[in-house]
Amino acid sequence: MLRLLQQEMRSRRGAIIGWGLGLSFFPVVYLGIYPAVAEEMKSFRSLMELPIYQAMGMTMASFEGFIASTVTNIVPVLLSIYAVITGVNTLAGEEENGRLELIVALPIPRWQIATVKAIAIGIALFLILVIVSAASAFTFLAIESQVETAVTPLDIFFSLLAAWPIVMAVGMISLFLGAFCPTRRIAAMVAAVIVVTGYFGSNLAGMISSLEKAQILFLFYYYDATADALVKGQQTSHMLILLAVALIAYGLAVYFFQMRNLTVAEWPWRKAKIA
C-alpha cells in the first residue's frame, strides 16, 4: 500500500508545489506591503464598524485585523478550491478516465484504496499549508521590526496551519461526493455549492441576529478567521467538529465506494443486490 501512497503523492507533487507557491504569493504580498500601508489602514477604523465587516471578522485597523482579513480569512477559501478539485478527481476523476479499473482489479480491498487516497489528500493539503505558513512566517520575520504587534512569526505559522481541519473537511466531503455521484461534474458542482454556501452562509447568518443560530450549519463557522484567532488560536471544539466532519465524510466515501458499481457512471442506489 505504501507504493500506492507514493504514487498518489507523486501525482500530487506538482499541485503541492504549484498551490503552495501560488497561495504563498498572497500572504507574502499582503504582509510585505503592510509597513507601507499601516497608517492608511488605521483610517479604515470607522468603515470596519459596518456589520458586514464585523460579521466577517474584518478589522483592518490593526495589524492582527489586517492579516486576519486578508490572509487567514482567504487562504482556506482558496485552498478549498484545490480540496474540491483533488477530492472529486481522486475517485470520480480516475473512474471516468479509466485508471481506477486497473487498481480495483488488484487484490486490494476497495476500502484500502479509498483510504490511501484520503490519506494522500490529507498529506497534500497539509504540505501546501506548510509551504504557505512558512512563507508567511518568514515574510513576517522580515518586516517584524517595522510592525507594532504582539504577534510572533510562530503565531502566523500556526494560524495558517490551523486551516488544515477546514480544508480537510472540504477535501473529504469532495471525496465522498466523488464516490457517491455518478459523474465528476455533478460531484464538483455539489462540492462547490457546499463550499460557497459554507463560507457566505456563515458570514451572512452572522450579520442577521435572527439567523445567528443557523451559523452552526455552515462549515466555515467552525473556522475562526478573526484577529483574535491569530493570537489565541482556533477553538479546539470547533477543530474537533471539522475533523469529525472529515472523518464522517471519509467513512461515507469508503461506504459508497465499496458498494457501488464502478466504471458505469450510475448512482449508488442503482447498484444491484448481490444474490
Binding site: 507504493r3 504514487q7 486497473l102 488488484l106 487484490p107 450510475e266 442503482r270 444491484a272 448481490i274 444474490a275
Partner: protein
C-alpha cells in the same frame, strides 16, 4: 477443488432498467483457452467486470478458481491477470516505475523483475514515461501487467488491439505458453481468425445472453454448413425456405446454401429436385459468428 476456472450461474446484471447480461451460465475449465465473442454492447466487458468485482451482479453468482468473485474477491483477484479493453495509466510514470508499483500491489511471490523479461519480449522500452507511448506500446504495457504475476487465470479484453501483426503473433504465443504452463485464458476479441487459431472453446454472447458455448471445431462442424448443390433442373426460389437455411446465391444449375438447421429437410428437398452433385465448403469462425448474429442485424449494439 472445483474443476472450473470460471463458473457463473444465472449471472444477471441490469444497469437500472438497461440490460447488461441476462442469466449467463458459463463454465470455463482449468487450463483451457476460452474465447468470448460478441458484438459491441453484447455484454462481454460486463461479464469480465463482474468476475473482477468491478460491477456487482443483479442476480446469480460468479466464481473464479473456486472463489466467489464478490465475497472472496480479493483472494480470487490475487490469482488473476487482467487486461482491460480501455487502458488508462498513470501517465506521469515511467513504465518501469509503473510495473514496480503494480508488482508490489499484486503482493504475490513472482520475482520482482519478471516484468522486464516480458517487456523485452514485446520490445517495450520501459525507461520512457507512459504518456510518451503510442497506442500500441500502451497496449504492451497492459499485456505485461496482465502476465507479470504468472496468474492462474488470465482475463484479456481484446489483447491484440492496436498491435502490429508481429507483436500480435508474440502475444498469441504468450497465451499458448501460459496455457501450456497450466494457466486458464479467458479472452474476448473481435479478431476471429486469432480466436480460431488459439482457442479451445468459444462462447458467443448476444444481447446479454450466452447463446452458444462450443468447442471451435464442433461449432464449425455442427453449427454452420455451406452446401453447393447442383441440379439437372433448378428448384424454385422458395424451395429452400426452411428455418435455419439461407440461400446465398444461384448460378446456372447450382444453389449455394448456408445451413444451420434442418439439414435433413434440405437434403430431402434437394433429392426431390433431382440433385446431381453436392459439395461442402469450409466456413471460417467469422462466418459462423455472422450467422449467429445475422449479417446487418446483429442484435442490440447498445
Amino acid at each position: 477443488m472445483t474443476e472450473y476456472a470460471i463458473e457463473t450461474q444465472g449471472l444477471t446484471v441490469y444497469y437500472g432498467r438497461h440490460r447488461g447480461i441476462i442469466d449467463v451460465d458459463l463454465r470455463v475449465g482449468k487450463g483451457e483457452i476460452f474465447g468470448f465473442l460478441g458484438p459491441n454492447g453484447a455484454g462481454k466487458t460486463t461479464t469480465e467486470r463482474v468476475l473482477l468485482d468491478i460491477i456487482r451482479p443483479t442476480a446469480g453468482s460468479a466464481s473464479m478458481l473456486g472463489l466467489d468473485c464478490q465475497k472472496e474477491g480479493v483472494q480470487a483477484r490475487a490469482k488473476v491477470g487482467y487486461l482491460p479493453g480501455e487502458l488508462s495509466f498513470y501517465d506521469n510514470m515511467k513504465a518501469s516505475q509503473f510495473f514496480q508499483m503494480y508488482h508490489s500491489l499484486q503482493g504475490d511471490g513472482t520475482e520482482a523483475t519478471y516484468w522486464q523479461s516480458l517487456a523485452d519480449r514485446l520490445d517495450l522500452d520501459t525507461s520512457r514515461k507512459i504518456r510518451e507511448y503510442s497506442r500500441g506500446n500502451k497496449q504492451k504495457v497492459g499485456i505485461v501487467l496482465a502476465f507479470m504475476n504468472k496468474p492462474a487465470l488470465l482475463i484479456l479484453d481484446e489483447p491484440t488491439s492496436g498491435l502490429d501483426p508481429l507483436v500480435q503473433q508474440t502475444v498469441m504465443d504468450m497465451i499458448r505458453e501460459a496455457r501450456n504452463d497450466g494457466t486458464t485464458v479467458f479472452f474476448s476479441s473481435h479478431n476471429l481468425p486469432e480466436v480460431q487459431a488459439v482457442c479451445d472453446r468459444v462462447g458467443i454472447i448476444r444481447e446479454g445472453s450466452l447463446v452458444a458455448t462450443e468447442r471451435i471445431e464442433d461449432l464449425m462442424k455442427q453449427q454452420l454448413k455451406r452446401l453447393r448443390l447442383s441440379f439437372s433442373s433448378m428448384p424454385p426460389a422458395a424451395a429452400f425456405g426452411q428455418e435455419g437455411v439461407t440461400e446465398i446465391e444461384r448460378d446456372g444449375q447450382t444453389v449455394l446454401l448456408e445451413v444451420r438447421d434442418n439439414l435433413n429437410a434440405v437434403l430431402e428437398t434437394a433429392v426431390s429436385y433431382h440433385i446431381t452433385n453436392i459439395e461442402t465448403e469450409s466456413v471460417s469462425l467469422e462466418e459462423v459468428f455472422l450467422a449467429y448474429y445475422g449479417k446487418g442485424n446483429g442484435g442490440n449494439h447498445a
